[in-house]
């Protein structure tokens, strides 16, 4: 999560590895299989996994960027990328100060946060109707 801030808080950590990147990639591979077999989505909270400095960036660059990039503006921005692997999404929620609040990997055809919500559609419909009155 260090990418959100210019502060370098690391010391003597040049070559440290937790070895958590590879198992995570395997977990994603299994999740893709479950999606293909059963349509079962998966979500991994990156805050819950111990990472050495730089490992999260390594994971993100291994996943790469695919065809879709969406930016929300809802309680601060959110960045939603489809990675090089279709069906694997990287969802990063920021607050108004662009600090990362949470970060997830989602395995699904489209993260549900992208869809318009019925409540919001109803609200918008009412606003449009009021405007036309």
């Amino acid at each position: 999560m260090g990418s959100a801030t210019p502060v370098d808080g690391d010391c003597g950590s040049g070559a440290v590895r937790t070895g958590n990147v590879l198992p995570l990639l395997h977990e994603i591979r299994h999740a893709l299989q479950r999606w293909l077999d059963a349509g079962e989505p998966a979500m991994i909270d990156l805050r819950s996994i111990p990472m050495a400095p730089g490992e999260e960036d390594e994971l993100v660059s291994l996943l790469g960027e695919g065809e879709v990039h969406a930016r929300l503006s809802a309680l601060g921005p959110s960045d939603i990328y489809e990675t090089r692997f279709p069906g694997v999404w990287l969802v990063t929620h920021y607050n108004d100060n662009e600090e990362i609040m949470s970060r997830f990997i989602e395995v699904i055809d489209m993260p549900s946060i992208l869809k318009s919500q019925t409540e919001d559609i109803r609200d918008g419909q009412e606003r449009l109707a009021a405007q036309l009155r």
Binding site: G2, T5, V7, A15, E99, F104, T118
Partner: protein, 365 residues
């Protein structure tokens, strides 16, 4: 903001969309260290959540815990949570003082009797009540009086949870923890010196969201944050397992980021969320900055025999001892002195993996 609106109504009133609410729920679940599968449960609980009234008591303390909390909340997701709680009394933060402030406390107690949350930072002196008073009321009296109508008490920081630094030998003020004086209320210990900001707000959020007490370990700490040792989540662990240690703060090992065990790291006996939650918006934590863990979230960490003294003083070669230690996993660490050894053993036994059921359980210990 009306006191009895649900959180959802409050957010809607502020023009916050459903999509924003869902984003808020995802981040809240992450903040509470809940698995992402719990996000829908968090959403439906938050829709109905009411603003709880909170009375915050600061006793023998350094204000570091309040500093930690206020650093966490302003522009973040926790900020919304704090907009959603009704902080009726906090004598460090509130504008009123003296009798006016005490009147606010009494009013909040009467209005929400049986339902309000008491948050305490600082220990309570028992040797002489004069060591710490508020508006002429001793800390002990104020705690006992305020606790009577509380739904639960959250002890924020190692002082309120375990006595902390005031309780360090020779404990001149006779400082005790909240749990030494209150035995008939659920108490959640959020230890740390100071506690990690997201852990404080995560626990408050849990209460706000589910209206229950999270599952606790044997020392009364929420398992979601204190369920694993620093050592078990430390990114330097591969070096410990290989027996590669920094011997001083500027040797080759230190430069290569090797394990800090020999420099006194208390990670093996310390249960806290530093290694994953980190500090300063996820920037770093002490071990990542090259300093051993002091064990600040454990009872009597101040009297643990020296911050730079390794946990055990092995007679043989430390690397050989540690190969055995690594095999034994988390149980390898020895307790901070013999004082709290039994408590600690119980705590370690209680550190079973946390399930969703545990988190929803509201029965305290």
């Amino acid at each position: 903001m009306a006191k009895h609106k649900s959180l959802l109504e409050t957010l809607q009133h502020q023009g916050i969309s459903r999509r924003s609410f869902l984003k808020f729920c995802a981040s809240t679940a992450s903040l509470m260290a809940l698995p992402p599968a719990m996000i829908p449960a968090v959403a439906s609980a938050l829709e109905q959540a009411r603003r709880p009234s909170v009375i915050w008591l600061s006793f023998q303390e350094c204000t570091g815990c309040t500093e930690s909390l206020t650093r966490s909340h302003s522009p973040t997701v926790e900020g919304l949570i704090f907009d959603a709680i009704s902080l009726d009394y906090h004598h460090t933060l509130q504008a009123a003082s003296g009798h006016a402030a005490e009147a606010a406390r009494t009013a909040a107690m009467e209005e929400n009797y049986g339902n309000y949350l008491v948050v305490v930072d600082g220990s309570i002196p028992t040797a002489n009540p004069g060591y710490s008073t508020i508006a002429g009321i001793s800390n002990r009296d104020m705690l006992l009086e305020t606790a009577t109508g509380a739904a639960a008490i959250i002890s924020v920081g190692s002082c309120a949870a375990f006595g902390g630094i005031p309780h360090a030998k020779p404990n001149p003020t006779g400082a005790v923890a909240v749990s030494d004086l209150i035995t008939d209320k659920p108490i959640i210990n959020v230890s740390g010196c100071p506690p990690i900001p997201v852990v404080i707000s995560g626990v408050l959020t849990h209460f706000l969201t589910f209206g229950t007490i999270p599952a606790l370990d044997a020392l009364g700490r929420p398992k979601a944050f204190f369920g694993q040792s620093i050592h078990d989540r430390c990114y330097r662990r591969p070096f410990y397992d290989k027996g590669l240690f920094a011997e001083s703060f500027d040797d080759e090992g230190a430069k290569k980021g090797w394990c800090l065990y020999k420099l006194g790291c208390k990670g093996p006996t310390t249960f806290n969320a530093c290694a994953t939650a980190k500090w300063n918006s996820g920037t770093s934590f002490p071990i990542q900055s090259g300093h051993p863990c002091l064990g600040c979230s454990e009872p009597d960490f101040w009297d643990g025999g020296g911050f730079y003294k390794p946990l055990s003083t092995p007679t043989e070669d430390i690397a050989a001892t540690l190969v055995y230690g690594a095999a034994a996993g988390a149980a390898a660490g020895v307790a901070l002195g013999t004082l709290n050894h039994a408590r600690k053993t119980r705590a370690q036994q209680a550190h079973a993996p946390v399930t969703v059921d545990d988190l929803e359980k509201g029965d305290g210990q």
